[in-house]
Symmetry: C2
Subunit: 140 residues, 2 copies
Amino acid sequence: MPTGKYIVIVGCGRLGAHLANHLSRDGHSVVAIDTDERAFGNLSPEYSGFKVEGDATELAVLQQAKADKADLVIATTRDDNVNLMVAQVAKAQFEVPRVLARVFEPRREAIYRRLGVETICPTSVAAELFLKSVSKEGSA
Amino acid sequence: MPTGKYIVIVGCGRLGAHLANHLSRDGHSVVAIDTDERAFGNLSPEYSGFKVEGDATELAVLQQAKADKADLVIATTRDDNVNLMVAQVAKAQFEVPRVLARVFEPRREAIYRRLGVETICPTSVAAELFLKSVSKEGSA
């Protein structure tokens, strides 16, 4: 994987922190944003990126995270509305070339696509794995 | 996929309901359990299984769902502790041949494995997909 991207990760819960740790280790410049300072406790001691405490739906916070310089913004919070708003602002206001968002409600994925935002729906992915697992063993 | 299994699904949120709808459509006998009656609104009109309102960590509720006859129990709630307790009871008390559980905290997966419970961690799965997606496009 080519390194050296500037990546802003919104939400530093389990998913966001996992991505931040991994991408930072891979040599990317990472900024993790969370409204709750304690969330940064999810980051590994080796995490070498920045931390910004604040609400990423506020322009000033994304500005502080230098979203205008970002190659990639990843919205990972547990709130679909927050992720959608962050994705919209990242695209429209900061012209971020690439935006990925976690989406809980699969029906919302169409809205994101219209905005040019790529989405990943953990529920759908987990559902697929469960169904694959159920069918795997045949009739019990 | 062979049909005709008796499947108890604990938690009828997005994931649980998706599984219930799908497995019911595939010809399995499905029972969906949730503490909140409104969760059953997630089931499709075509869902032909049963609904049990109650707390599946209570023996009586799993009994009502005929967990003793189940080929498979799937614990899908948003609470790792609930899923773990349901999985334990399904295994130990009702001798369910196969138990699958959703786990949010990947570090807990070892506990489940010791109990013979298969786990799926949506966070880990989503993280993998995000990382694959990030590396896909190369340097932006």
